[in-house]
């Protein structure tokens, strides 16, 4: 599926929207309103615009293809969700790369973080393949920045990042249309949960911070949380 069919019939989105989102809360709220009314497909448009892989199409408001069958809109929906997940996995992969580069951790903790970083990279590869197999265009890797200072603060940040990832997948699972895509997302969801719990043991925090039932996070919550990490 061409990029233009992902970015269809939503309100026109200004180019460079992510820069504005990062700087301007009112603009972020406006985006979230749009995203709320248009759903995952518009988040797909957001990440595409954010990552600059289709900067020209963001202002072109391409005419929506006539084909709006149930299956194609389900496909568009799932592509949007997968691209959203891909963006998060790119951020996690970049985060672990920076952590490893900083050589803050040795021993078992260092090995664990290295393993988790490699697993996030596998998630990136799998999600890219899934987007492509649905006929979509994988979003580009976003520019990121992480405050890597002390080992303790970095481990805390890892705990935050992984808990966020787990709740982001949980928030999307019921919105996924394809059973196959759902199965893939769930297989990743529980890995994020395992990472979060493992890092919880490193930082001496609860392995189950939400108690007996994990809390989902929707796209707007996740967006707000990752905003500081977008360069």
């Amino acid at each position: 599926m061409p990029v233009d069919s992902v970015i269809e019939n939503d309100a026109p989105q200004p180019a460079g929207i992510v820069e504005q989102l990062v700087r301007d809360d009112s603009d972020r709220k406006r985006f979230l309103k749009m995203a709320g009314s248009a759903g995952a497909a518009s988040f797909g448009a957001f990440v595409l615009a954010a990552c600059g892989s289709s900067s020209s199409s963001s202002s072109s408001t391409a005419a929506a293809p006539a084909a709006t069958t149930a299956s194609s809109s389900a496909n568009t929906n799932d592509i949007g969700i997968l691209n959203y997940a891909l963006t998060l996995e790119y951020l996690e992969t970049a985060f672990y790369a920076k952590v490893i580069e900083a050589k803050l951790f040795g021993g078992a903790a260092g090995a664990l973080l290295k393993t988790f970083g490699a697993q996030e990279a596998q998630h990136v590869a799998a999600l890219k393949a899934a987007v492509t197999s649905l006929g979509g265009t994988p979003v580009a890797k976003p520019e990121s920045k992480f405050p890597i200072t002390t080992a303790a603060a970095t481990a805390e940040l890892a705990y935050t990042v992984e808990n966020l990832g787990a709740s982001a997948y949980l928030g999307q699972a019921p919105l996924i249309q394809s059973k196959q895509v759902l199965a893939s997302a769930l297989a990743i969801h529980t890995i994020e949960a395992r990472h979060a719990a493992s890092i919880g043991t490193l930082v001496k925090k609860s392995v189950t911070p939400d108690g007996g039932f994990a809390k989902p996070a929707d796209m707007s919550e996740v967006l707000a949380a990752v905003k500081p990490f977008l360069a």
Binding site: L170, L175, Q180, A197, S198, F213, K215
Partner: protein
């Protein structure tokens, strides 16, 4: 159920239970079930679950409920008598109360779907000390993750799926924490958790169900 089917999932062989590989554990479980009920029979607790469930999502939730009863009894009953200490004791207490919450939530969900929750089975846990307790805890939690992940795509209701998702994330967190405690990988399946079929789950837990 055939043992061949189970052995097609070599990743399970990595998990050790009581010094046996998971694969041989599962084969033994299946053989034991076969000896008692006949190789082709579905174990009684599953047929009970299927009959009582009212079909569809309630049926899936009843299968999950049986597993949660199992985990809850393991931590809350066996965990209190086997002589746990330190982090193992803390986990058993915390995780046990969360599994009990899952039992409660699933029971309510099944009723709200018009189904009949299965009765709590009687379990037998072949553990005698902290080390064998934790080894079995690892098996149960990791099996729980695979069971939910395998069943979730079959769920019709978005609400039920959301609930199952919020529970499986907890099972995954338990599994990772227990695995780390016994020096196993917190991600024994690698970067993607493997879904399990009902037959695979049954083979893993059957030896623990008395009736």
């Amino acid at each position: 159920m055939s043992t061949t089917t189970q052995l097609q999932n070599p990743e399970l062989a990595e998990v050790e239970v009581h010094g046996l590989t998971r694969a041989s554990f599962m084969v033994r479980g299946a053989l034991a079930a076969g000896a008692v009920y006949g190789v082709s029979s579905v174990a009684p607790f599953v047929s009970q679950a299927l009959a009582a469930g009212g079909g569809g999502d309630a049926e899936i939730l009843n299968f999950a409920l049986t597993l949660e009863y199992l985990e809850s009894a393991f931590y809350n009953e066996k965990g209190k008598t086997v002589g746990l200490s330190g982090q193992a004791k803390t986990y058993a207490t915390d995780f046990g109360s969360q599994e009990a919450e899952h039992v409660k939530a699933l029971t309510a969900a099944i009723k709200s779907l018009g189904g009949t929750p299965v009765a709590k089975p009687t379990f037998v846990f072949p553990v005698s000390n902290q080390s064998s307790f934790l080894a079995l805890a690892s098996t149960l939690e990791n099996t729980g993750v695979g069971a939910y992940n395998g069943a979730a795509p079959k769920i019709s209701s978005k609400e039920v799926l959301a609930e199952a998702g919020s529970i499986v994330q907890i099972e995954a967190r338990h599994a990772a924490a227990i695995n780390l405690l016994i020096n196993k990988s917190p991600t024994p399946n690698g970067a993607f958790d493997k879904p399990l079929t009902e037959a695979q789950v049954l083979a893993a837990v059957k030896p623990l169900i008395k009736e």
